[in-house]
């Protein structure tokens, strides 16, 4: 924990591995939120407006 994090260095991009992983997880979470089905509490009733 006290050691500095490894860094990814590609040209002008310099980012720590933990930050890179976090951003990847956030992008994945966002995509999942777009495509994952949302649970519905109650079925549509015939007379429901």
């Amino acid at each position: 924990m006290d050691a500095p994090a490894p860094y990814i260095h590609l040209g002008f991009i310099l980012i720590s591995l933990p930050n890179f992983i976090l951003i990847c997880v956030m992008v994945l979470l966002f995509v999942l939120a777009l495509v994952a089905p949302f649970p519905s509490h109650r079925p549509k009733e015939p007379h429901d407006e």
Partner: protein, 225 residues
């Protein structure tokens, strides 16, 4: 129960307030009319939402609010017991961690909420002020988090404060905002900034409820600009 009769006589059969008549004078009636018009209770606490709201993307905002709740609650506990407690005792470590990780959740889900609103163009149909208040919340949150990092009272906070001092001095604001001034940083972190974030979040929620959730971009019922 009667609500009619002489308008000059107070109806004592009910305690519920009457709607303010259009011609009723005074700023109280004026404010009440404005509130009733812009945010009726059915909009403030709706029981139904449009079909397009049934998406996980709309959960990000409320998760951010939930994280803020735990940030504030754990922050109150930390402020009450102090730095030695949160650095030394086991229960202090626990609340310190709750505070730290709930802040991580707050920022992660705030950014996910930002992405959702950005690509969904959430500022459309009269919602520009809602978007702008969201931007201000983001900015004030960064200030709150920064002042939090420099008041941890450990080597990490000293390192951050010394480096930040140079960065802020280069902008010319070092005389106003001194990262090495612990009293200033602590006061801002536990009082001014959290109150600002909380009040702005309340305003943001009121704005969202007053206008409702924006329609999807490709909705055929898109409102005219």
């Amino acid at each position: 129960m009667s609500s009619g009769g002489d308008p000059g006589v107070i109806d004592q059969t009910t305690t519920s307030p009457h709607p303010a008549a259009d011609d009723e004078p005074g700023w109280t009636a004026s404010v009440r009319r404005r509130v009733e018009k812009t945010l009726p209770i059915s909009e403030l606490l709706p029981t139904k939402q449009p079909a397009y709201v049934s998406s996980w993307v709309y959960v990000f905002g409320v998760v951010t609010i939930a994280a803020l709740f735990w940030v504030v609650l754990s922050g109150v506990v930390l402020a009450f017991f102090g730095a030695e407690w949160w650095h030394v005792s086991s229960i202090g470590h626990f609340f310190n961690s709750i505070h730290f990780w709930s802040v991580q959740m707050f920022f992660i889900f705030m950014v996910l909420h930002l992405w959702g609103q950005f690509w969904g163009a959430g500022w459309r149909d009269g919602r520009a002020k809602t978007w702008m208040v969201g931007v201000v919340i983001f900015a004030v949150s960064i200030g709150t988090a920064f002042t939090g990092y420099v008041v941890q009272l450990n080597f990490d906070s000293q390192w951050i404060a010394v480096n930040a001092k140079d960065a802020i001095n280069s902008t010319g604001f070092g005389g106003l905002f001194n990262a090495l001034n612990f009293g200033q940083m602590y006061g801002l972190h536990v009082m001014l900034f959290p109150i600002g974030v909380t009040l702005l979040v309340v305003l943001h929620i009121i704005q969202v409820r007053a206008k409702g959730v924006v329609r999807p971009i490709d909705d055929p019922l898109q409102m005219a600009p």
